[in-house]
């Protein structure tokens, strides 16, 4: 068990920097007490991020007024609200859906990224690995360019494209190696993604005028369409999160290697298929409304691992909280830095995420020596 776990660490260089060794045994993590402190911290950060998301924005509504309005809406307090109709609309119809969408998208991207990294045992795996992003992009572009679909069909077309792309990549990867070899699956994903991206570029070039709405979507956005986007994707995202989190212990076993996991009674191929399918479904739902928001899926699980250890029983739930908080806060920056203009959220996630990762890396390594 020890030898196996150190081999896993070698595939994930960042994991070696973790100062606290996680328990190798199958003992419930919760019994150690430490993870609950992490979870509590995660929840606190998420609540702070949500409140910041509600309180800050270009409309210049005082956070105090929003706070009293929020309390006034709690039925058992019986307080009235003093907020104007316009301000209430801005906060509850515009900001609140963005916060909710940011939390959902951030959560699923981070958890899907962490799950992909687990089943592929590859630290660079991200939710877009098997062609979700390229498939969604092509689906959205082609629907608008060739079918003349209006923008409200964009999420459905993107979702369809994403699912088709991943099925193609999975089928291609399995046909080569029978699902046992993760490298061939990853290569199949790279090939499918490259092919679909090329087709998408071609379609964009052929229809440079009619596909204008696609460009904003490609940059990533937490959108302006109110609660409808949130209710559209929430069932898929929440369902995927539940299934992926339920697999956290199995993913932890998978860390030791396919053969070892099989000998421990885990059906590796089946777990891999379920996790990939569910993570893809959730990611496709998120991508279909929010566009291509990069960086969250690959970096948040690593940040969590660096801070709290490589145990997936903690990494997945904590990634969910940190991912949700991160995207909420990134969106606060997206709408305040250039206020009243918007900055594409994909720009913010990369610009803030990269230094964030560097700081965590430095701190952890600094504490190590």
């Amino acid at each position: 068990m020890n030898g196996a776990s150190s081999r896993v660490d070698a595939t994930s260089p960042k994991a070696t920097a973790v100062p606290t060794t996680q328990p190798d045994s199958g003992a419930p993590v919760a019994s150690r007490g430490v993870p609950w402190r992490w979870m509590l911290a995660g929840f606190t950060v998420l609540i702070a991020a949500v409140l910041a998301g509600l309180a800050l924005g270009p409309a210049g509504i005082s956070p105090a007024a929003i706070g009293s309005d929020l309390l006034g809406r709690l039925p058992w307090l019986g307080l009235g609200t003093s907020m104007s109709q316009l301000d209430a609309t801005v906060v509850w119809e515009l900001r609140a859906p963005r916060v909710a969408l940011g939390a959902l998208v951030g959560a699923i991207l981070a958890v899907a990224g962490g799950s992909y990294q687990a089943v592929f045992r590859n630290p660079l795996a991200d939710p877009y690995l098997l062609g979700v992003a390229a498939g969604a992009g092509l689906g959205a572009t082609a629907a608008i360019a060739y079918i003349g679909a209006s923008t409200q069909w964009l999420p459905i077309a993107a979702f369809g494209g994403a699912v088709v792309a991943v099925i193609a990549a999975y089928a291609l990867g399995r046909s080569v190696a029978g699902g046992r070899n993760t490298t061939s699956l990853i290569l199949a994903g790279v090939a499918v993604a490259a092919f679909l991206s090329a087709v998408q570029t071609f379609v964009l070039q052929q229809n440079s005028e009619s596909v204008r709405p696609v460009y904003a979507w490609l940059l990533g956005r937490l959108s302006t369409s109110g609660w409808s986007d949130v209710t559209l994707i929430a069932p898929y995202v929440i369902g995927s999160l539940i299934v992926l989190l339920a697999h956290r212990k199995v993913l932890d076993v998978l860390r030791v290697g396919d053969d070892e996991a099989t000998s421990l009674g885990v059906s590796v191929t089946r777990v891999r298929l379920i996790v990939v399918a569910v993570a893809t479904l959730g990611t496709a739902a998120a991508v279909s409304v929010s566009g291509l928001i990069g960086f969250v899926g690959v970096v948040i699980p690593h940040v969590v691992r660096l801070m709290a250890g490589a145990n997936y029983r903690l990494v997945l739930p904590l990634s969910m909280l940190v991912g949700a908080s991160f995207l909420c806060l990134a969106d606060v920056l997206a709408r305040t830095v250039l206020s009243p203009a918007e900055l594409p959220i994909g720009v913010v996630t990369a610009c803030v995420g990269a230094p964030f990762l560097a700081v965590v890396l430095r701190r952890v390594r600094g504490g190590d020596t």
């Binding site: 801005v90 515009l94 204008r212 709405p213 956005r221 250039l338 203009a341």
Partner: protein, 316 residues
């Protein structure tokens, strides 16, 4: 005798100018020419001051390739339509424009030269290496980049008239545009200052007062809600925050994304929070033709007219 005959025959104005000058019957006819120092428009070669410097056109062009939809409209408006051999894939106006699959965004040098052009008109979207390639091949290139002001737009139409031998017609087109716009501006009802939001896409991309569209609004005395965002973002085409737009409460909303994105006044009014916007409540939300609202050619008065109509609705 010869003169009257020619005039009655209804030949192009360029011939009329020739005839008049040669007869000496109207000595003032040449005085209004804006570029009288540059070859008078009819005597080739002419020199035209365009976006790419002084362009010399050795002879009257008869195989013009236009890679700019605005330029195509101007070429036809000044009466040079017969001289246009090919127009790019976006040149959808006027109907008789010889649209081809040439692209102005990603131009193919060989495909352009395949039309054996004697003049190529481009806008600033075209990459410079294509212009350089054409010039190397001995084809004069007239660059007419997007105008920032009415005067620049007029000047470009005059350039195109001069370059094609239609100086007087170009002047007539510009005079007509000036008169139409002056009349429209004068017809704006008096009242409190109104604000406007120009929507380029459903993600609330918009145009500031530094753009040509913005100039039209400024000319009509409108305040553009995009200007604060443009200043913050350092771009003429910023993306507005939805909540800012609602708190800015524009009196007019001009939708230039009806064709591309299916936005209608009803779709816009159904967006969260939009029911409280003044423009939605007064009905001053109008869809404008995307082409008319994005080109700086001879159809500007139509755009101005649509905006004036919205002002009347908002003021009523």
């Amino acid at each position: 005798m010869l003169c009257t005959h020619r005039l009655r025959a209804g030949v192009l104005a360029v011939s009329a100018v020739l005839a008049l000058s040669s007869c000496g019957s109207d000595p003032s006819s040449g005085a209004e020419r804006p570029e009288s120092g540059s070859g008078a428009g009819t005597e080739f070669p002419v020199e035209v001051e365009a976006g790419n410097g002084t362009v010399t056109i050795p002879a009257e062009p008869v195989r013009i390739v236009s890679l700019s939809p605005t330029a195509t409209e101007s070429l036809f408006a000044v009466g040079a339509g017969d001289q246009v051999a090919a127009a790019d894939d976006q040149s959808d106006y006027p109907e008789q424009a010889p649209v081809t699959d040439l692209s102005g965004y990603q131009p193919n040098l060989e495909a352009i030269i395949g039309y054996r052009p004697d003049l190529v008109v481009v806008s600033d979207d075209s990459p410079t290496d294509v212009s350089e390639g054409l010039e190397a091949a001995g084809v004069p290139v007239l660059a007419e980049p997007s105008a920032a002001t009415f005067e620049e737009a007029y000047d470009q139409i005059l350039d195109i008239g001069a370059a094609t031998g239609h100086v007087e017609q170009a002047q007539d087109v510009v005079d007509g545009m000036r008169a139409d716009i002056e009349e429209l501006v004068a017809s704006v009802p008096d009242g409190p200052e109104l604000s406007v939001f120009h929507e380029l896409g459903p993600d609330l991309f918009t145009a500031s007062s530094d753009t040509f569209i913005g100039q039209v609004y400024a000319e009509l005395g409108l305040v553009n809600v995009a200007d604060a965002a443009a200043q913050a973002a350092g771009t003429e085409y910023p993306q507005l925050s939805a909540e800012y737009l609602i708190s800015a409460d524009p009196d007019l909303v001009i939708l230039a994304d009806g064709e591309c994105c299916g936005v209608t006044p009803e779709v816009a009014a159904a967006r969260p929070g939009w029911d409280v916007i003044s423009a939605v409540r007064s009905g001053a939300v109008v869809v404008v033709d995307e082409d008319i609202a994005s080109r700086w050619g001879p159809r500007i008065p139509l755009f101005v007219e649509a905006v004036v109509e919205a002002i009347r609705t908002a003021s009523a």
